[in-house]
Symmetry: C2
Subunit: 232 residues, 2 copies
């Protein structure tokens, strides 16, 4: 289970090297100025790749690791949500929520009917931004593993494969064999994008694109973790 | 199933009286200026209480109902999500998402650890605002029934009852017997608030309050509609 085994242990922060932890400037500010930690307060450190340890906060210095480094296996099977670009600040919100929910791989997609189209420079900046949002959300939700955030890809380039489904009104219920759910733009998938892919429905109501992505992440992780079971 | 039986039929708008439909100013603006409907375009009208009919849009006039009024039963069993007040614009987002997902009753709560506390005037204004958000989201998601949005209530006033559970880390999995999930503030429930209530967990990761509420709404409606099954 991709989560620290300590329920409360103070804030959780990712560092590059657990043996010589160095806080980055944003995290240093967050711990000292926002959370107002005091000297010797408990915290945890992680490398975002399954390893973490307890530590104590030191005012004006880097934290001191205490105790052993614990290794957590990644969630098995890994699950992924892809979502077509949507307007406004909502893609960041989707990345944040999917990370909190325990989704392992997040795939920003450009779809035929995406209202938003990014050029290469914009796509690169946005993926950087998504990575920062995912890192913050993974720390906040106490995950041992950072999710993977992929480069922007055209939805048409995703080939049919076992466990890969497209969310589409009227599709069958999601089940435990599903590993990857792709959510289209507000205007829906085109026939060309749908070719060869099984579809799943996310309920009878019409969901906004970002609600569909969060709903897919909720159901995928709940089925993966055995908190609910497939209906078929 | 609380949703129109017509998949595409143009925009869906609530009116007070289906036989003499009168658009309110916001809806008139939305249809004419935002969606840019043309004369005789298809739309649907609903009363938000299970009744709806097809209609045609008329520029500068009220829409003309066409065809029979269809009556849709409310979802059975009804499901509810309560959520403790949270900072910023997020409560509106929660109300919007719960409505889209098909939740029937939305209960804003004040909790012992709610950072936000509203006086009576502010609470009344906010509930009005929630009602507007729920109405817009119910139209957008093509629901036949408007969800109920209750007045702000202290979480402590909710007495233990069959099917009522509090979301709490480490709680058991949600199952089909659950009808009402209450989600606490970022700081968690106090022991006094937890007294007598069963708890459910929404996964191993630590969820933000608004993510927990949306996750609860997703799982409650998916279990209710039989799209997933209880794990126990």
């Amino acid at each position: 289970m991709d989560v620290l085994s300590v329920g409360r242990g103070g804030p959780h922060v990712f560092v590059a090297d657990l043996s010589i932890p160095t806080l980055d400037d944003d995290d240093r500010h967050h711990l000292g100025r926002v959370l107002r930690l005091r000297d010797a307060d408990d915290m945890t450190l992680g490398d975002g790749a399954g390893r973490w340890c307890r530590a104590v906060y030191r005012v004006g210095k880097d934290p001191e690791p205490v105790g052993e480094v614990v290794t957590v296996a990644p969630s098995d099977p890994a699950v992924a949500v892809g979502f077509a670009l949507i307007k406004g600040g909502r893609p960041e919100m989707v990345v944040q929520k999917l990370t909190e929910l325990g989704v392992d791989r997040i795939v920003p997609l450009s779809a035929d009917r995406s209202v938003v189209q990014w050029d290469e420079a914009k796509a690169s900046t946005q993926v950087e931004r998504f990575l920062r949002v995912a890192r913050e959300a993974a720390m906040q939700s106490r995950r041992a593993w950072l999710p993977t955030v992929e480069e922007l890809a055209p939805a048409r380039d995703i080939h049919p494969a076992p466990g890969v489904v497209l969310a589409e009104p009227g599709g069958g219920p999601i089940d435990r064999s599903v590993r990857v759910v792709l959510v289209g733009p507000e205007g829906g998938w085109t026939d060309e994008e749908l070719i060869g892919h099984p579809t799943v429905g996310l309920g009878p109501t019409v969901l906004r694109a970002e609600t569909a992505a969060i709903s897919a992440g909720t159901l995928l992780t709940a089925l993966r973790d055995g908190r609910v079971l497939s209906a078929r």
